[in-house]
């Protein structure tokens, strides 16, 4: 009994201490905001610049000549030189980089060699497709992965744990390419339950092209905004398979991480305390333990989301999904450096802002971080 009282006392003191800290922080927060923001922006600028420099140098060192992607197989040497000069590729590397950064600062990412359009326009077209898919996949991953991981931890070593682990193992080891094709073959080809490859059926894609104004570039959102519910339903049916396939992989990862984080929490003393206090078991698991496991788990989820936002080349290929991954990969193969750099900046910014987001969430969930 004395031991228990001791623990209670510790908990109470701990809470009180946090309370005072919170009050103090509240007063300082407005003062701190400006320098914090400046610091964030500064580190952002440095990170993006470093990212650009590395990508730029790698892009120029690879043995692919960007000029060849424009002029093609038959061009004469004179035509090649002409294009090289037009692109400014005959200037020293650092001069080229300086020009590039100058343009980017002014918001000009240049034109893509592959598509003959401004890189910004291309990204505005490909990124929403990736965003849609990644968001849905992450939702799937979280909705199934977190409860799955908790279940596995609670029933450690018994059948729920084993089956979830096997499911996860499949997710880890199955090639996404194969899983995607099999999914298409069964649910689209044989059963006809879901939409096929692409974001819409041909007829809806045409209607979309003609009748739906592009607001966000995300088909699900735009068709809903326009009230084109036939197109919306079709878009949903086309999104189901690819987001389930990608979501399966993120589920495998998230459930594993949840399981180990939960096991760690369930072994802590405060869990014992809560149980001794007579808290209901579901409360102990879902509120106390998961609440604490949530802190590192957020980082795990956000990072898995970020990696999906880079685009998933194989999934995009199988599902003929016009996403960022395919765009950047194709750009790399044709040495389309403007497109590669533009894509890299976007991916970089996504990572940085999601990191910020996870920091903020972290603070919200964990009082100690405030």
């Amino acid at each position: 009994m004395t031991g228990l009282r001791q623990i209670r006392g510790d908990v109470a003191r701990g809470l009180a201490a946090r309370g005072t800290a919170r009050l103090a922080a509240g007063g300082r927060r407005s003062l701190q905001l400006l320098p914090v923001l400046a610091k964030i922006l500064f580190s952002l600028a440095i990170t993006v610049l470093g990212l650009l420099l590395i990508t730029f140098v790698i892009g120029r060192v690879v043995p692919i000549d960007p000029v060849l992607s424009i002029v093609g197989e038959r061009a004469s040497q004179a035509q090649i030189e002409q294009v090289r000069e037009q692109l400014g590729l005959n200037r020293p590397l650092m001069t080229q980089f300086a020009y590039y950064v100058r343009d980017v600062v002014q918001g000009d990412f240049g034109k893509s060699l592959m598509t003959a359009r401004p890189v910004i326009d291309d990204i505005a077209r490909f990124f929403p497709a990736t965003l849609e898919l990644a968001t849905l996949a992450t939702l799937v991953g979280v909705l199934f992965g977190v409860p799955g991981g908790v279940l596995a931890a609670v029933h450690q070593g018994r059948w729920p744990d084993q089956s979830i682990r096997i499911l996860g193992l499949f997710g880890y080891s199955m090639p996404v390419f194969w899983l995607g094709l099999m999914g298409l073959l069964i649910f689209y080809g044989e059963l006809g339950w879901t939409g096929g490859p692409g974001r819409l059926d041909a007829s809806n894609e045409l209607m979309y092209e003609y009748d739906v104004p592009s607001v966000t570039g995300a088909v699900l959102i735009d068709s809903a905004l326009a009230g084109a519910w036939g197109i919306f339903r079709d878009a949903v049916s086309h999104t189901v398979l690819p987001s389930l396939v990608l979501g399966y992989f993120s589920m495998a990862y998230i459930s594993r991480m949840t399981r180990s984080l939960m096991l760690e929490q369930l072994g802590q003393e405060y869990i014992a305390t809560a149980r001794v206090k007579g808290a209901a078991e579901w409360r102990v698991v879902w509120v106390h333990a998961l609440g604490n496991a949530m802190v590192p788990l957020i980082t795990v989820i956000v990072l898995s989301y970020a990696s999906l936002l880079e685009g998933s080349v194989l999934t995009e290929t199988v599902f003929a999904w016009p996403g960022l991954g395919l765009y950047i990969t194709n750009a790399l193969f044709s040495a389309d450096m403007n497109a590669v750099l533009g894509g890299t900046v976007v991916v970089g910014l996504v990572f940085i802002s999601l990191n910020l987001l996870s920091d903020l969430l972290y603070r919200a969930v964990d009082p100690r971080a405030r």
């Binding site: 692919i64 000549d65 960007p66 992607s69 424009i70 002029v71 093609g72 197989e73 038959r74 061009a75 004469s76 040497q77 035509q79 090649i80 060699l113 592959m114 598509t115 003959a116 359009r117 077209r125 799937v140 909705l143 199934f144 409860p147 908790v150 279940l151 094709l181 080809g189 059963l191 006809g192 339950w193 879901t194 939409g195 096929g196 490859p197 692409g198 059926d201 041909a202 007829s203 894609e205 045409l206 092209e209 036939g230 339903r233 079709d234 949903v236 049916s237 086309h238 189901v240 879902w286 290929t317 199988v318 599902f319 003929a320 016009p322 395919l326 194709n330 193969f333 044709s334 040495a335």
Partner: protein, 529 residues
């Protein structure tokens, strides 16, 4: 939590099931094609030089002289109603077809025609050589290509075989562009180039409604087309990179035509009553070439030995089945003067004897090939058969541009790759395989295959040059036959296969033509029943 996951599961199932109900066939007035279209770089006809871009432009623009899509044989009048040739064989006069308008509503005039050809020469993009080979330069083209009333008068520098010139005029680079519309979008004296890279200004059967690179493009029928409005009101071409995915779409009836199925997929859909397969012989030649700056690949006995170390039939009967046919000359079947001689077959003993005569032992070489399924498989088969004669070959792979860069700089030992004709005259391939005006490194004729392989083609060059000036078609044909036989015998090139495009379509689709060995796809004759 169990209730939560159940809820999510139920939600997904509901979405899946409700979505299943909205399944639809392709619209009756729309042709939907699954293809790989990420090769489109620019849709300015003065610049477009890739398969998919030319397929699109062939239906959006007209040329003065055209190919009859129903048999791809003789040339037929296009925007020029009739034409004549002067006594000296150098001045062509084209009478423009009256009453034809561009999609913009502007009339098609001789001035548009003259400006379009001048523009292609002045812009000097890659395909411009198809026109400049007739002696036009940015400086003289205004004088040599000019409009007079309703006539277009063109003066070439030599009395070429007329069919050579007419064939060049069927190429996309010779498309007639709406001058007025293009010039409205001109910036810095670019003849509307920046705008035309992503927009069109033609008079063809279809106008471009939308093009989303790496995603799709939509064509809309031109109701006023001078040949009559096409049956399909729209053509929708979707970029579907994975062949297995194309096959599923076709089987489900979500596309009408799938153009990039593998031989395995074709076998898979054969026998399906809803799907028709049409084999079309295309112009692409797959070949192997030996760099003549590399010892001992420049020894005639080694060259011959290597030609006997390719398993032509083995490949054509196995992994290439149906998609390539053995072909050992540089002119594809379908061209004037093409020959079907097949003097080589896999003969390891003969090759070994030849290598022995040349006292070649322990030869190690590199095969340069881009990482593309078909080509890699060919390279692997070639590597195996070389090994049987004691040649140790290493396969060097890379992206298309990477390998092309090496090839153009003469950095390869052996190159395994493809060549496709640029226009419908035999000179298109003779010009690059069997002509090398200057073999020196300084000449940098990097666009010429003979130069890339440092092959002087001294016996072939004069015949190739004479053949373009031969106005008697019978004699001209004989000259191409002769030059191919010489080339087949002694050049360091081993043509292996000619491409067959296996177009799979829904069985209600009729009239689709991929363009045969000499041209691009025609959409405007397609009907669906």
């Amino acid at each position: 939590m169990i209730s939560l996951s159940r809820l999510a599961l139920a939600g997904c199932a509901a979405a899946v099931l409700s979505a299943g109900a909205v399944r639809a066939e392709t619209p009756a007035d729309t042709l939907v094609i699954a293809d790989k279209i990420d090769d489109i770089v620019s849709i300015d006809p003065a610049e477009s030089f890739e398969f998919s871009g030319n397929d699109m432009l062939n239906n959006v623009y007209d040329t003065l002289v055209e190919l009859d899509p129903s048999d791809l044989g003789p040339l037929v009048p296009g925007l020029a109603e009739r034409w004549s040739l002067s006594e000296d064989g150098k001045t062509y006069t084209f009478e423009m077809r009256p009453g034809v308008t561009f999609h913009s509503g502007n009339p098609v005039t001789a001035e548009d025609a003259a400006w379009s050809l001048q523009r292609a020469v002045k812009l000097n993009k890659t395909p411009s050589f198809i026109l400049t080979q007739f002696g036009f330069t940015p400086e003289n083209v205004e004088e040599r290509v000019r409009a007079e009333g309703d006539s277009l008068i063109v003066t070439v520098d030599k009395p070429y075989a007329p069919s050579f010139f007419y064939s060049a005029l069927t190429a996309v680079v010779a498309s007639i562009v709406d001058k007025k519309l293009a010039m409205e979008h001109e910036q810095n004296g670019d003849f509307g180039y920046e705008w035309l890279k992503t927009n069109t200004a033609g008079s063809g059967a279809y106008r471009l409604r939308a093009w989303k690179p790496n995603e799709n493009y939509v064509l809309e029928a031109n109701g006023d087309y001078w040949r009559g409005a096409p049956a399909m009101k729209r053509v929708f071409v979707r970029h579907v990179p994975e062949p297995a995915t194309q096959r599923l779409l076709l089987e489900r009836g979500d596309v009408d035509i799938a153009r990039k199925l593998t031989p395995v997929d074709i076998e898979g859909v054969r026998g399906n009553p809803d799907i028709a397969i049409n084999d079309e012989l295309r112009g692409r030649i797959m070949y192997v070439a030996l760099n003549q700056t590399v010892e001992p690949l420049n020894d005639p006995r080694v060259i011959e030995a290597i030609k006997y170390l390719i398993d032509y039939d083995g490949m054509a009967d196995t992994f290439l089945k149906g998609s390539y046919v053995v072909h050992q000359a540089f002119l594809p079947i379908g061209f004037l003067g093409a020959i079907d001689d097949k003097p080589y077959r896999l003969d390891v003993a003969k090759a070994k004897a030849l290598l022995q005569q040349a006292s070649v032992e322990d030869l190690t070489i590199r095969i340069f090939v881009r990482n593309d399924q078909d080509r890699l498989e060919m390279a692997q088969s070639f590597q195996n058969t070389l090994a049987q004669a004691g040649i140790d070959a290493e396969i060097r792979t890379g992206t298309g541009k990477e390998i092309l860069g090496e090839y153009r700089s003469r950095n390869h030992d052996i190159y395994l790759g493809a060549w496709g004709p640029d226009y419908s005259d035999p000179h298109t391939n003779a010009d690059t395989f069997a002509k090398n005006p200057d073999n020196s490194l300084e000449a940098q004729l990097t666009g010429v295959l003979a130069w890339r392989n440092a092959y002087p083609a001294s016996e072939e060059t004069p015949i190739t040059l004479a053949a373009v000036l031969e106005r008697d078609t019978g004699k001209r044909k004989a000259m191409y036959e002769e030059v191919q036989r010489i080339h087949q015998r002694q050049s360091p090139f081993a043509p292996m296969f000619q491409r067959i495009e296996q177009v799979a379509s829904r069985s209600n689709v009729e009239g689709f033509n991929a363009g045969g060995s000499i041209h691009s796809a025609f959409y405007w004759l397609v009907t669906k029943n």
